[in-house]
Structures are given as C-alpha cells and as structure tokens.
C-alpha cells in the first residue's frame, strides 16, 4: 500500500544518544587521570551505539575490559566499572578486589546504569567497601535502535516484574517516559492497559509534577502503554515477517545481527546493522517471508541492469559512473547477497524442522480447531526431544488458547516433558503456572451442557469434527472470547493475498491479528476505552486513559497528533512493530515503539526456565 503523502515526520531521536554520551563523558571526567574501564557484557553493544573507543580514550580511559566474573588484572591506579545495578556484579567487584588485603591503594568508581539500587549499595556496605568505592548513576534510559524503535535494553524487566513481582524497574520506566515527554512532549493523551503500565504512568506523572514544565511545541501526540502480560499469544507465535524471522533464527542483538558462514558462504561471519539505513533491508523487513524471494530477485535484476550500463561508455562517462554510482551499487550488491544468503539459510533451517506443519499447528490452536491433533503433534515433539523451548512454546500456546489444559492432558504432557528434558524443569513448570502461561483447568470451569450446545451452534466449523468442537468449546476460554469480540482470527475459508495485505493479520500469514496491536488500533479509533468494556474485563482490567495536563494543547490535526508512542512493558516483537507500521500506513499515523527490550518466543520462554538455577 502506498504511504499516505502527508505522513508525519518522526522526531529526531539521535538527541537521546547525544545526551547519554555527554553524560557518560561527564561521569568519566569526574575521575580525572588515566583509568581502566570494566564494562558489563550486555552493556557493550548499547555503549557501541552511542560512543566509540576513541571517545573513551579521549577521556583518559586506558584499557577496556569486559566484566567476566574473573579476577581483575588491571594495573591502573584507577578502575571504573560500568554496570547494571545487579547484586551479582557488585558482589563480584568485592570478590575480585584483593587490593585491601594486599595493602594496595586504588581508586574505584562504580557507574550504575540506568540507575543505582539501594540493595546494590547495601552489598558494598556489607563488604566494607562503601567508603572506598564511589558510586554514580548514568541515566542512560533510552537507546534508539532505529528511526521508530527505542529500547531500554532491559530484558530482565520481564522476569523481574512479571515472575518475581519485583517493581524495581517501574520508576525506571517512568523516568524513561518522563525523558521522552520532556524532550518530545507534552503528550495530549495517554492510554494504557496493565498493572505495571498503570504504575509506570503514576510514577511518570509524579515526576512530571516534581519538575517544572516549559511550554514547547509537541513532537509526539499520544502515548499508549501496554504490559506484556496483556498479550502472551502474539510473542509466542512463530514469526514469518522477514525481520521477525531473522530475529527468531539469527537473534538480532541491539539492532545488529551476526550472519554465520552459512549465510556469507565464506569462512567469515559478518555483523550487519539492520535498520532503515540498509536500503535493501528497509524494503523487505515488514514483508511476509513468501514475498521476500521475488523481491530480492527483482532487485538483483535491476542491479544487473545498472551494472550493464557500463558497456558502451566512453572514458568520461565511465569516470562519472565509477565516482558516482559504483560505490552505491557495490554496497547494494553486498547487502543483496547477504539477504539472499540469509533467506536461503532460513529456508534450509525451516524445511528441516517441518516449519509448515508447525505453522499449521499454531494456526489450528489460534482457530480452536482440531485440538486433539495439535496435542498429539506437541506430544510427538516432546517424545522426539525436539527443542525444549519449542515444545514449551507450543504447550503455552495450547494452554492460553484453550484456557488451560484438561487435567489428564496436563499431567501426561508434563510427565513426558520432564522425562524428555529433565526433571529440573519442574521449576520451569512452576514459573509458567505462576504467569498463567501453562495451567491445568480447574474443575468447575466447564460450561453447562446447554452453553456448550449453544457455543457449538455458533462456532462449529465442520460437522465432522464434533468431538473436537466439543472438547474445545466446552470451557470458558478468554482467548476465544477475545478473539471473537475483536475478530482476531479472520475466516479461514477466504483467500488471503499476502502481497496485498488487508489487515495486520498478514504478519501471521493471515491467520491472526496480534491482540496487542488490535487493542491499540481500537483505542485510537475510539479515542478512549469506551465500548471495549467487555474486552478489558476479559483482560483483567487495569486500563486507563488520561488527557495530558500542563499545557498540552489539543489543537488537533497538527502533525504531532498523528505521532503515537507505544510503550511495551516486558518486551515487544518485531512482528508487532511490523503490524504497527502497517496500521500507521493505513491510518496516517506514525508509531514510535518504545520497549523494555526486543523479545520473541525463545527469549520469553528462556527467561522463565527454571532448570539452570
């Protein structure tokens, strides 16, 4: 679909990078003189995006080390640690520090980012290091990963908040929102759903009231906050849009992917930045995978034509060609061959794991169709010891779509899972149950016979699948109800042309519209939650909508009003981002996605594994 001509301009988020860099430099200068810098492993890539080694060297950083939980070997008189506020890391700093015993004097500084926690300082105090070590905060809240994606790079948010029930990051999120609001706001309206979203909103509100606000021209109109636990279905589905698929298979880290030799067809692996700067990638990232091949081959033909222009050129033309076009063509050539290589590698991997059948199972679960077959597919998956993550993912999908497993199925599948992958996964099951991702149906949850009969009349797909329809409809299922109310699962008997998507369902091959994005669409359309009462009830409430105060003008229809910030608390997937981009093109909005981290099914499940404690 053609982009609307008057699509609003996105705000310039590079300012956030500059701010973070300047603050880091300031902090480094607080420790004058040469110093060695120890950087937490998962801060390396984010740091890379905003500063390079020479910036650090300019501010007298001598050697750089990665925090590896090994003894410190630095010979410098001053050591600086740049870490996340984690107790484990702070403890390591103590263990590694044998200086005191050796009677050596060194200056230590710990820079916590994005903030420090009292609990971390308590560890320092307990170890008797409190006075010897100075601590500071680097308020590096937001890392722009692309023109329209900003990440807090806090994957642990998900586990800490939703599993442990620890609200340590709530204020962090509030502060991040506050930062965006004070640079790009004021927001006209702020909507949200979820317990954490509500708390983050309140924390933000409080911070707004503390500070003084200057009247400014808003660059972002509305904001939407959503908790990951509002919609677990979407991140659990296999991704089939190019960017999501690349993330599922190669794992995109901080906007960068490492393609191995199977992609590059050489001995070396290559690191590639995946963002809108990559002209090839930016055209295919939101496409359904089935379209990507034909697009790339068309692109390759065009490239060939451009190269062929050289023939019959005279010297002067050739010179211009080399100086003006060749570099661009070579760059495009390189990118094209990389993405073609990636596609081939994806095809190979997916054919090997019977991707088609896997997708069929997922779609059946979403539709609530042939559930018995799905269960035996999952069972065979477990029996054959195919990836333990995949098996859990399918089990969770089954449980959420069916509103829990029948006790007999639950016990059998759990027993087989433990036998196949190890009994230590008892803890994994406990975690999944706590989040409501994988549960056993409680007796009394079944509907009355009458209700199930009515349900069957309304929703039975094929007359031949009586037992099936019965077993899947004879329970109260939130997902089914939500799916019906919001039309999440398009009718399967209609052809869905993936080249010309008609709705957001295209990101799942036309089988399912992501619940998270559908909610956003509905609320924006209504400009409130009115009319969605039944939906929010099924989602356990916690929805809110507030009109911005302090000078937020409602002079609607300015460009900024069509810029919408969506904040995912607990992570969002590339598929959701693609769906929002589609929605934006359809409705003349531009979405800015802010997330605590980019997630996908594997990351989500891995965060809940209990077998490595």
């Amino acid at each position: 679909l053609a982009e609307l001509a008057d699509s609003p301009e996105l705000p310039d988020f590079s300012l956030l990078k500059r701010l973070a860099r300047d603050q880091l430099i300031y902090l480094l200068e607080q420790l004058p003189g040469k110093k060695d810098l120890f950087i937490e492993a998962d801060l390396m890539s984010p740091l890379d995006r905003i500063a390079n080694v020479s910036t650090l060297k300019q501010h007298e950083v001598d050697k750089l080390y990665k925090v590896e939980y090994k003894p410190i070997i630095s010979t410098s008189d001053q050591v600086c640690f740049l870490i996340r506020p984690r107790i484990q890391t702070v403890k390591w700093i103590y263990v590694a520090n044998a200086d005191k015993a050796a009677g050596k004097f060194r200056r230590y500084k710990i820079i916590f980012t994005p903030q420090k926690f009292y609990a971390c300082e308590a560890v320092l105090e307990e170890q008797g290091l409190f006075g010897d070590v100075t601590t500071d905060e680097w308020a590096f809240y937001l890392l722009p990963l692309d023109d329209d994606i900003i990440s807090l790079e806090l994957p642990e948010f998900f586990r800490d908040n939703f599993l442990a029930g620890d609200q340590r990051w709530v204020r962090t999120v509030g502060s991040a929102l506050h930062l965006l609001h004070s640079i790009y706001g004021p927001f006209s309206k702020i909507y949200g759903i979820g317990r954490c979203a509500k708390m983050a909103y309140e924390s933000w509100k409080e911070q707004v009231e503390e500070g003084d606000t200057k009247a400014r021209q808003a660059e972002i109109g509305n904001a939407f906050l959503i908790d990951r636990d509002v919609d677990y279905i979407t991140p659990l589905c296999s991704q089939v849009v190019y960017e999501g698929l690349v993330d599922d298979i190669f794992r995109i880290k901080c906007g960068c992917v490492e393609f191995g030799h199977d992609v590059t067809s050489s001995d070396k692996s290559v690191k590639v930045m995946l963002n809108s700067q990559d002209k090839v990638f930016s055209e295919i990232r939101n496409e359904h995978f089935s379209n990507v091949f034909s697009f790339l081959s068309q692109k390759a033909r065009n490239l060939q034509t451009a190269y062929d222009k050289r023939r019959g050129m005279d010297i002067k033309q050739m010179k211009t060609f080399v100086s003006e076009e060749l570099k661009g063509l070579k760059q495009e050539h390189r990118l094209l061959s990389l993405h073609i290589g990636a596609c081939e590698s994806i095809m190979k991997k997916k054919t090997k794991q019977d991707f088609q059948e896997l997708l069929k199972t997922e779609h059946s679960l979403l539709e609530g169709f042939e559930i018995r077959e799905c269960i035996s597919f999952i069972e065979e998956h477990i029996n054959r010891q195919v990836s333990m993550i995949e098996s859990l993912r399918l089990l969770c999908l089954l449980s959420i779509t069916e509103n829990g497993l029948l006790p007999k199925d639950f016990r059998a599948l759990k027993a087989q899972y433990l036998q196949s992958y190890g009994v230590d996964h008892l803890l994994t099951f406990a975690n999944l149950r706590q989040l409501g991702l994988l549960v056993e149906q409680q007796p009394g949850e079944t509907l009355t016979v009458m209700e199930s009969k009515v349900g069957k009349l309304v929703n039975d797909k094929t007359a031949g699948k009586l037992t099936d329809a019965f077993s899947s409809l004879a329970k109260k299922s939130h997902f089914r109800a939500l799916s019906r109310k919001l039309n999440l699962v398009p009718k399967s008997d209609e052809e869905y042309d993936l080249r010309v998507p008609r709705d957001m369902a295209y990101i799942f091959s036309g089988a399912y519209i992501p619940l998270s994005c559908k909610l956003i669409e509905q609320v924006l359309e209504r400009d409130s939650w009115t009319g969605l009462e039944e939906v929010t009830k099924l989602l356990n409430g916690h929805e809110f909508a507030f009109t911005g105060s302090n000078g937020a003008d409602l002079r609607a229809k300015s460009d900024a009003q069509r810029i919408i910030l969506v904040m995912f608390l607990g992570g969002c997937t590339f598929s959701e981002i693609s769906a929002l981009r589609f929605l934006g093109r359809e409705r003349g909005y531009k979405f800015i996605v802010v997330t605590t981290a980019i997630t996908n099914s594997s990351r989500l499940i891995e965060a809940l594994l209990g077998n490595k404690v």
């Binding site: 009292y118 609990a119 560890v123 105090e125 442990a164 029930g165 609200q167 340590r168």
Partner: protein, 426 residues
C-alpha cells in the same frame, strides 16, 4: 538539580505534624490541624521507647525556635546532596549522636519515601517502632518503586525479620520483593525459613514429589549403568562400545536420553537387568508412544532395520502378521529418513501410511516408485501414470512397469479426477 531553599521552606511550612501520624492509618494529611496536645502526648509516647530523646526533641520541634535555628545548620548536608554519590543514608545511621542533631529526622513516612526515590539523604532512625516501620513499608509499596520497597525492608526490617513473617504475609508486594532479594543474595537459609513459616505451598505437590522420586531412582540406575559400561568399554571386549564409543557420561541425563542410550547399547538384554530398555520402560511407566519413538530413533541410528521390523510387527490370533504403530507411519518414515534409511526400508513404511495423499507425497519425496505406480494403477489414472513416467529413470524397471500398465488391454483406460477417487489401498 535541587531547589534547596524552597524545598526546605515547603517542608517547614507543611510537615509539622506529619511525622506523628504513623498510627493514623486513614488519611494523615487531612489532619494538618492537629492539636498541640496530641503532639505532646505522642511525643511522650515515643520518648518512652526511644532513649535518644536529645535527638528526637530537636527534630520534632514544631516551635518557631527550632525552625529558625535549623536551616543554617543543615545547609552543608543539603549541599553535599547534589553529588549524592558518596553520601548515603545508611552510613548516616551510624553517625555520632552529636552530629545527627544537625539534620532533620522527622520527615513523614511519605516524605521519606519520596526523598529516597530522588536519591536524597533521609534518616531512617526514627522509624523504630514496628508500627512505624510497617507504615514506612506501606508507603514504599504505594510508591510502586521496587528499589525503595527492598531498601525499606533491608534497612529497617531485616534485624527483626523473624518476628515479621506474619506481617509480611498480608503484604504480598513487599513479601515478593523480599523473596526476590533473598534469592538474589542467595540467602537460602533465610528464604527457606521464610517460606516454611508462611505456610507457603512448598514447591512440590504430591504429584511432583513422584517426579522427584523417579529422578532419584533414575540417578541410582545411571550410576550403576555408568560404572558397568565404563569398565566394559575399557576392557574392549564388547563390540558395540568399540564400534560406537560413548560420547559422554550418562549421569544426570534426562530419562528419555537414558532410555535412548540403553536402546543403543543394551537393546537385547533380558528385562531383568537394570540397563534393559524394557525394564526402564516399566520402572518409569514410559508411554507406549514415547517408548516406540525412542527405540525407533536409536535402532535406526544403528541401522538395525530388522529390530524395527520386529518392533512394529504384531501377530493376530490367526497367526497373520500385521504392522502396527502407536506413532503415525508418516512420522516413522520421517524419523527413518532423518537417519538415512535406504529406499527399501523407507518403502516398506511409506506403504503403511493410511492417508493416500500423504502416502503419495512421501513416496514421491523418497523416490519409492513402486508405491506411486501402484497407487496410480489402483486409481486407474492414465494421465498420472504418463506424467510419472517422465520422472523415473530411462530404461529402468520402473519405466517398464509403467509401460506395461499403460499397454495392458484389460484395464479400462479412463481418466478420473484423482482427487475424488482416492481410496484405501490395502
């Protein structure tokens, strides 16, 4: 960063009585006009539990005198806040008495929480009664800031945590922060004590205990098997260990991996031995399907096709043999193919696939020509046969077979729409 003056002024103008409202659960802020009498009575109350009346007297003072003298005194302390990196409230707690006089310690619980959130110095020493401590905790929970919730527990409650278990039980949010903190610092002793005191459902249900018991039994088995097999391998007398050296120890592997191992190295052992696959199957109540899948994978890896033949063959009462599988045969084919089974073996199992569509698909994929040709013959579909002739090798037996069929005068040559005429071929 900080607006020193107004901040302090605000405080002195508004918070006079806030500090005394800790036992007023409802709405302490609406009670700003509390009488002096009330103040005094509470003062005496606190003095009773608090020996450090010197400090307390100064800090509570709502008198204008105190108000005038103070700001000058605590100016340096607020100054140091702007670089709050070194100074924190925790060491403040240990400051000598004389010094602590110099700063205010009568922030209300709410104010205290608020200042902590901003990283400002606070004094927690005035929260000494259990009631005060819990009130502070409740305010921290209300602020939705996990950092502060944990800090309050850590700095005011840990010393008395054992008497607090009950209080925490009704404060789920705070409790979860405490549990998470204990998990992070790996204080398993206190964690266990806490959990068992709270009548928490301990991690394992009866059903789960059975899994743990099974695991224990499994470990015992693994130890025996590992010891025996390592000896056998070293002795070099058992052929299979020579041909396929063991890659890793079996200890701590999941049950199915152990079963696979036994199917691989100990398949034909009598059921009486610990390492016999059948024995493992019975001991651990492994489902028929799971057992089949594992045997299949292990024996296919060894290319022991005759074992598979025996595995799937059952005899009915007339003595006829029949192939049966708890696993659909197209999956069987899939597993065999992944273990690079030869075409003759694949063909046998492809032929057993019930669904004709699926069967033809698999037969074509694995080049089981006979099955394709026979199916088309049974469908009496001349077009499909003609089409398939192009796919087999020139001059091969398959091509001849197709030619024979096409030439055969007996058959009625008609073309059917093959989609509508699939039938079961037995």
């Amino acid at each position: 960063m900080m607006k020193n003056k107004p901040d302090e002024e605000d405080y002195w103008n508004s918070s006079k009585f806030k500090a005394f409202t800790f036992d007023d659960e409802d709405d302490e802020f609406s009670r700003l006009k509390e009488s002096k009498q009330a103040v005094n009575s509470i003062r005496s109350l606190v003095e009773e539990e608090d020996d450090e009346d010197e400090v307390e007297k100064v800090s509570w003072s709502g008198e204008p005198v105190g108000r005038k003298t103070k700001p000058g005194n605590f100016q340096p302390f607020t100054d140091s806040l702007s670089e709050s990196s070194v100074k924190l409230y925790a060491p403040e707690l240990r400051k000598p008495k004389s010094e602590s006089k110099d700063y205010i310690s009568d922030w209300s619980p709410e104010e205290t929480i608020h200042r902590m959130q901003q990283g400002k110095v606070v004094s927690l020493e005035r929260f000494r009664s259990l009631q005060d401590k819990l009130l502070l905790l409740d305010f921290s929970v209300r602020a939705h800031d996990g950092n502060i919730i944990t800090a309050v527990i850590l700095f005011t409650l840990t010393s008395i945590i054992r008497v607090l278990f009950r209080e925490l039980e009704s404060r789920q949010t705070a409790l979860r922060h405490f549990i998470h903190y204990l998990t992070e610092i790996r204080d398993h002793r206190l964690l266990l004590e806490l959990l068992s005191n709270l009548f928490f459902s301990l991690p394992f249900s009866p059903e789960e205990s059975a899994h743990v018991q099974d695991h224990y039994t499994l470990l015992e088995r693994q130890i025996i098997i590992e010891a025996t097999d390592r000896l056998a391998e070293h002795a070099g007398k058992v052929e299979i260990f020579q041909k396929f050296p063991r890659r890793a120890s079996i200890l701590n592997m999941p049950l199915i991996t152990t079963l696979y191992y036994c199917c691989f190295y100990h398949y034909n052992e009598p059921e009486g031995t610990y390492s016999s696959p059948l024995n493992i199957r019975h001991t651990f109540r492994i489902s028929e399907k799971q057992y089949f899948v594992t045997v299949l994978a292990a024996r296919a890896k060894l290319k022991a096709w005759s074992d598979l033949d025996a595995l799937f063959t059952s005899r009915n009462w007339l003595g006829f043999t029949k192939k049966k599988s708890p696993l659909s045969f197209h999956r069987v084919v899939d597993i065999l193919q992944k273990n690079s089974a030869p075409t003759q073996v694949l063909q046998e199992y492809v032929g057993l696939v019930d669904d004709a569509d699926l069967r033809i698909g698999l037969a074509q994929k694995h080049k089981c020509h006979d099955i394709v040709i026979n199916t088309y013959r049974d469908l009496k579909d001349r077009q499909l046969l003609l089409g398939y002739r192009g796919k087999v090798e020139r001059g091969s037996a398959e091509e001849r077979k197709i030619n024979d069929l096409l030439d055969s005068p007996v058959r009625k040559r008609r073309n059917y729409d093959h989609h509508h005429h699939y039938q079961h071929v037995t």
